[in-house]
Amino acid sequence: MSARRTIRIQSEPFDSAKETATLSALGSDIGAVATFIGYCRSENGRLKALELEHYPGMAEDEIGRVADEALARWPLDALTIIHRFGVMVPGDGIVFVGTASSHRAASFAACDFLMDYLKTRAPFWKKEILADGRVGDWVEAKADDDAALERWKR
């Protein structure tokens, strides 16, 4: 069967339990589902919220290219990627990645790979909103995130 590829860029919250259940219910040969959820956090109370800006159109295209790369590299039955934009408060899910395959190795590796690539290639930018409501700075990209990509070079 060809792999099921679901990509959504949305402002609304996602239901990670529902997304995971959808992946696990795809067929009797799904033996492993790996999921990752990235959350907005307060950084010890420093932040009230994060505002995520994105590049409409390119966000879908670029995440699609990253998804295709994962599907080419691992024997996945399905993957789901959801990335939100807009204002998020601590505890809100920002990104959901779920991968389904027969065995755990492909699910784990593809999920890890997808997050490393989303961090550095998906056109999203986070701006801090401080605890007192003032607008803070844009979050700076981390060198660690670029370094993480080196693991996947071949």
């Binding site: 295209d61 989303l118 290639r121 056109p123 999203f124 700076e140």
Partner: protein, 86 residues
Amino acid sequence: MSEIKLVYFAWVRERTGCAEETLTVPSTVRTIADLAQFLSTRDEGYAHAFEQPKLVRAAIDRTHVKPDALIEGAREIAFFPPMTGG
């Protein structure tokens, strides 16, 4: 001369004071790096946005490109900081 749609995001957008514009670019501007240099001469805001060229990334028609990419035939060119999604 060719007319190109330019879009800006995050602090590049804030510094240029512009989210989207259509611009006629002289034919001497051939690459993304040339275009960034050309834009930086427009006013103080653009100069600020492009003052550290290595910190500004670009996409042509919604695909990431390097500074040496040729802009000929591009419909939409975007400039933005390194991404911080996920």
